[in-house]
């Protein structure tokens, strides 16, 4: 069941990728390091817990230096010795575009995360434990992101952008009756590009 669920996610993920939905829009892709930490108290944490995120940004509105836009993404993260997760996330972003190609970026988001153990699991069947995984854990993941981007061609509205993001997010629920929620951060390095101009 565990792998069936994962495969379902991957199928949806690939469907999104291959869809024409993205044909005229930018693709954002980033690698990130996830950590359980209190936001803004730490930056680059070790050991590395790698993640990969891919998504797109919709056109939104541009006024003065501000660009306001919705964005969606899917991603995978692997927290060593503890869990792996797949998620889908919707965000609302506000970029402040300076004249020098540098963009100050903020986003708030809400996503769905499904986590699975990275280790062998033992499930209690009412009388004893058996070697069996569960169906994983359903979570919501509200997030707040800040960061910087740099347009490689500042006068081109479809310029490729390199960005760095600090995303703080909450995993909820975490362990009901024990630990209500868990605080995480993802530090992203990524790019936004237009595959078809």
């Amino acid at each position: 069941m565990k792998y069936f669920s994962l495969q379902l996610y991957v199928a949806v993920f690939l469907l999104l990728l291959s869809s024409n939905l993205f044909a005229q829009q930018p693709i954002t892709i980033s690698v990130f390091n996830e950590a359980t930490t209190i936001p803004f108290t730490t930056f680059l944490n070790t050991p590395m817990h790698p993640g990969l995120q891919i998504g797109t940004e919709f056109e939104g509105k541009m006024k003065n230096h501000f660009r306001i836009y919705p964005a969606v993404s899917v991603g995978y993260l692997f927290h060593r010795n503890l869990f792996q997760g797949l998620y889908a996330n919707a965000e609302f972003g506000v970029d402040y575009k300076t004249g020098a190609g540098i963009n100050i970026k903020t986003k708030i988001g809400l996503g769905y995360l499904h986590t699975f153990a990275t280790q062998q699991e033992f499930q209690f069947n009412g009388t004893s434990y058996e070697n069996k995984g569960d169906r994983g854990n359903a979570r919501i993941m509200p997030s707040l992101t800040i960061g910087l981007g740099y347009d490689l061609h500042k006068n081109d509205p479809q310029s490729t952008e390199i960005f760095f993001l600090y995303q703080s997010w909450i995993e909820y629920p975490y362990s009901p009756g024990f630990i209500p929620l868990m605080s995480h951060t993802n530090v992203h390095l990524g790019t936004k590009f237009y595959p078809i101009k």
């Binding site: 792998y3 991957v10 993920f13 930490t37 070790t46 817990h49 033992f122 004893s128 070697n131 362990s175």
Partner: protein, 395 residues
């Protein structure tokens, strides 16, 4: 280009998906222990066995229990599994982690050092610890050794730090040294002025371990060995610092998400395997021998034992638990079966508890290889303890 990107991403995701690790499996001989930890033909053997069976059957991987009374000597039993992946049954002579029960050993060692004239409980801790060691620990400059022992120093408990809790979850195999743990408490407000109340603080016991080292010139766990493990024949007992996962230690499991879905936490480092507030490896039998010797034997002089049992009630009460009073590395609780002197301890994946009932001269100790989430309800809640005490001490 688009197809290539698609294929690359698919391969990366699939590679990561299959990264679920299987537990190491061991042959039965890995957990072999043949030492006798039982007096044969105990009259209540069936009752005790049924108790363990009931607790294990509620969702605990394995449980070992030892009872001592003066009429029948020691009885030890175990049920469930030492290792779920390998399918190895638990034996009462297996070794396990017993967490904070070490605080009783730490306190007894300090009292022994006082008996030897090497320190005085009323000494300021600054007599033994440098400014650098206590830097940023509010109340440390004003606290005495006695206040550390009684949890009445008010010094912040590093385990309460959210930053520490998330950091330990982030790096589950990190080895935390004493300085790193103290760092988590530096700059934090003390709970109260020294000597005005009591509140459990692991930080105080980290400092006590450092005081033992200062006074003796040896690692504190070597002092435990010399003064307690060897003289009192605690052959199953050792400290984690030199060998965090010794051969034969039973696997520990955590119910992290409160759904009785366990993962193996044996190789998680814990945070107190190198400090005198945790890190003890033992079993229910050895803990029972230690407690029985402490309260019926000659580990401490009567004067020291009396001083150890200087009871202080917390001003905030004791919540829904037993009525509780703080002593030095020991608690006094009031149960339906009378007073008990006790201490419990968690490690990641493990729990142990030891209690001595002076009225009945009975010592009850147990250890389990599962904790957190729902498992705690069966092994360390007030209801679970009442059930165990009731089975042993009830009519």
């Amino acid at each position: 280009m688009y197809k290539k990107l698609e294929i690359t991403i698919m391969l990366v995701v699939l590679a990561l998906m299959i990264s679920c690790e299987q537990d190491l499996t061991f042959p039965e001989s890995y957990y072999d222990c043949n030492e006798l930890v039982n007096s044969p033909n105990h009259p209540k053997e069936d009752e005790y066995s049924n108790l363990i069976s009931e607790i294990v059957g509620s969702g605990v991987p394995g449980m070992m229990l030892t009872i001592h009374n003066n009429q029948n000597g020691y009885w030890s039993g175990a049920q469930g599994f030492a290792d779920l992946s390998s399918g190895i049954r638990l034996s009462p002579c297996n070794i396990t982690r017993v967490g904070s029960t070490v605080k009783t050993f730490t306190a007894v060692t300090i009292l022994m050092l006082q008996e030897e004239g090497l320190l005085d409980l009323d000494d300021q801790i600054t007599d033994y610890l440098s400014n650098n060691q206590i830097k940023g620990l509010e109340n440390a400059k004003e606290s005495t050794i006695k206040q550390l022992l009684l949890h009445s120093s008010g010094i912040y408990n590093y385990i309460q730090s959210l930053k520490f809790q998330t950091a330990s979850l982030n790096d589950l195999t990190k080895s935390w040294g004493p300085d790193e743990l103290l760092e988590q408490a530096r700059g934090k407000d003390a709970y109260f002025a020294p000597g005005t109340d009591v509140l459990y603080s692991n930080t105080g016991y980290v400092l006590l371990g450092m005081i033992i080292e200062k006074v003796t010139g040896k690692p504190f766990y070597e002092v435990f060995e010399e003064k307690l493990f060897i003289p009192y024949d605690l052959t199953f007992t050792q400290f984690a610092a030199t060998d965090p996962v010794p051969d034969g230690i039973i696997r520990g499991y955590v119910d992290l998400y409160s759904n009785l879905n366990l993962i193996n936490a044996t190789y998680y480092s814990g945070w107190d395997y190198y400090t005198a507030d945790g890190g003890l490896i033992s079993n229910a039998y050895d803990l029972n021998k230690f407690m029985t010797n402490l309260f019926q034997g000659d580990i401490l002089s009567q004067e020291s034992l009396k001083e150890m049992m200087t009871w202080v009630a917390p001003k905030d009460g004791y919540g829904d638990g037993f009525q509780t009073f703080y002593g030095m590395g020991i608690f006094r609780i009031e149960t339906d079966f009378g007073t008990a002197y006790m201490h419990s301890g968690d490690a990641i994946g493990y729990f142990a508890s030891m209690a001595y009932f002076p009225k009945q001269d009975v010592t009850i100790t147990w250890a389990v290889n599962g904790n957190y989430g729902k498992v705690d309800e069966f092994t360390q809640s007030k209801a679970a303890m009442e059930k165990i005490y009731g089975t042993v001490l009830g009519e």
